[in-house]
């Protein structure tokens, strides 16, 4: 389609058409679950089948008036925001350090810092369960915040690190030569420039914590159940339409996060484009 000059022969046209058809089917496959579940949350009936008997907001009403669901939303927010803040502090300082640190151990340290992303959730969860239980950190907000921070920080290190890589260190030197203290230079020169990177890192960190369920399954007491944890029980027991309302609320939050991230990326590209 784009490069029509390269689609000269009929066989090439057929191959391209096949690519388009298969891709369209895959896009449908990718989007179908999300699209199928949304209308059901607005159903007035209590069965999860089409056609819908009518439109209503009763399941959202059910969600909002249920202390169980609202408590889980509150928990997800508390744990998500706290672990985002903590992972931002730890991840940004580490990324700043890693950008300057020269050592043959650097790849090893980097691999260690990023390993929480790769290690299967169950292994981290079991390890934490054994480790945190004797010191009273299971069944507590603090334990979950610490665990989620460990999972979220690698994303902060990656995003902030990538931003720092494209950061012109001469700007920091210029600030220093003009008499700025290191802290001033960071606050007035470095920070505004890497802010989009920091924001992306924070979004990734929040999304990681907000979506995490395996560690919560092992470590949360009844008081700390998060939204995904509540959905897990709901799906296990029986899927009521209230879950579809919860799903739509979760998806909406994801869409907002994704849109913000995309806007940040565009802004960053524009800045780079104007600079170059």
């Amino acid at each position: 389609m784009s490069d029509n000059s390269s689609l000269r022969t009929p066989s090439q046209r057929i191959a391209w058409a096949a690519t388009v058809v298969v891709s369209t089917l895959v896009f449908i496959f990718l989007m179908a679950p999300i699209l199928a579940i949304m209308p059901l949350s607005f159903s007035s009936g209590s069965y999860l089948t089409y056609p819908l008997p009518g439109f209503s907001l009763r399941w959202y009403d059910d969600f909002i008036s249920s202390p169980r669901w609202m408590n889980s939303l509150k928990n997800s927010m508390i744990i998500g925001i706290a672990s985002t803040l903590l992972s931002m502090v730890l991840g940004t300082t580490a990324a700043l350090g890693l950008a300057q640190w020269k050592s043959r151990f650097k790849p090893l340290v980097l691999a260690f810092v990023l390993s929480p992303v790769v290690v299967p959730g169950v292994i981290t969860a079991v390890g934490l369960y054994f480790f945190f239980a004797p010191i009273g950190l299971t069944g507590s907000y603090l334990g979950l915040i610490l665990a989620h921070t460990a999972l979220a920080t690698p994303f902060v290190v990656i995003t902030v690190g990538a931003t720092l890589q494209s950061f012109d260190t001469n700007l920091a030197r210029a600030a220093a030569s003009l008499g700025a203290s290191p802290l001033q230079a960071f606050r007035r020169v470095i920070l505004p420039l890497i802010l989009p990177g920091l924001a992306s890192g924070a979004l990734f960190a929040f999304a990681t914590s907000f979506d995490e369920v395996v560690i919560v399954l092992f470590m949360a007491g009844p008081e700390q159940r998060t939204l995904p944890r509540e959905m897990f029980s709901g799906i296990r027991e029986n899927i009521s339409p209230t879950i579809t309302a919860a799903a739509v609320i979760l998806t909406t939050i994801s869409v907002i996060l994704l849109a913000t991230l995309e806007a940040l990326r565009r802004r960053n590209e524009r800045l780079k484009g104007s600079g170059g």
Binding site: T49, L90, S103, G127, F130, M231, I235, S254
Partner: protein, 420 residues
Amino acid sequence: MTNALLTGANASTEVPLKRRLRRAERTRQAKALALVLPLLLFLLFTFAGPIAGMLWRSVEDWEVRQVLPQTVAALASWDGKDLPDEKAYAALASDILAARAAGTIAIAAKRLNYALNGFRTILTSTARNLKAVPEPGTAKETLGKINPAWRERATWTTIKDAGGPITGFYLLAALDLTRNADGAIVAAPPDQAIYRDIFLRTFLISLGVTVLCLILGFPVAYLLATLPPGKSNLLMIFVLLPFWTSLLVRTCAWIVLLQSKGVVNDSLLWLGFIDAPLRLIYNRFGVCVAMTHVLLPFMILPLYSSMKAISPAYMRAAASLGAPPLTAFLRIYLPQTLPGIGAGSLLVFILALGYYITPALVGGAADQMISYFIALYTTETANWGLASALGAVLLLATVLLALVYGKLVQGQQVTGGMKN
């Protein structure tokens, strides 16, 4: 003289400067390390420490050692060939009485029962029927009367093997192996030998999902890499939106779609393709569909970036040199996507190996992967040694694959840098 003085003066100003620069660099490096250190310490406490603890549990053997200390000590010098001597029987009788008073019999019984089915009954019945410390010299006879199992060598080798402080028992069990009474490593009895099948199942499901992701992801990545940026950015939303949607939401949605009265079955019935609802969920099919859906973006994104880096000039050059389109694709384009295929496939495979939530929610009993059993033994049956051993095997597989992945991605970055 003047020459020597000059060089001397030069040296005296130069060396301190060099040293000063080196010192400044050292301070800079120390400061950089100090910035990384808090995160390293944090991860030591919240990640590396817990995992090391889990690995330790897979070889730790404390129960029998703690509950039957005198017996373990008495058996230390036993050669295991014949029945142990009277001293060991007396030690056991004394240990059992002490453990009964302390209420710790069940701890040792549980551990010994893992190694020898029925040991729990042997130990509890002995604890119930042993009235008092046997007269000196009669312990062997007394215990043998209470339970004839004490006259069997296997009963005693089991205690000796479980005497700790470390054991290969759980790691062997995780690979369907065990030690026989002579200490040789042999295949575990068939009723306990289930883990190789589970590892094989985990491997096959992961492999199947990886292949499905590659087949579905390749055309999409190709399309996205070939379309002009405006269109491909728009279509990219279809990949990124599911990527960002909660795993639980997607799993829930697949149940809604695939259940017997779900959207897919209803549509097929309505269209007349089928007469009765198909069983599409709580089986292997449902697990593969849901996992492929979750992992597909992890395949598309690396493929897309490797295809994006391929210059269209190569294909034009191949065409101008007379290569038919298919030949040009197979010999010029495809080889250049291999690093992307490798990275995407490894990533999907690594992530699939550790899957727990999706199979637990959309799979049947025969579709549970290794993570499910690790979770089961941790929280339900509290067989922490076995849970840790299975975890150690899974961790080893993941780490090895991740190392390969690291090499692959690093190589790509190097060549990418050279191209620029």
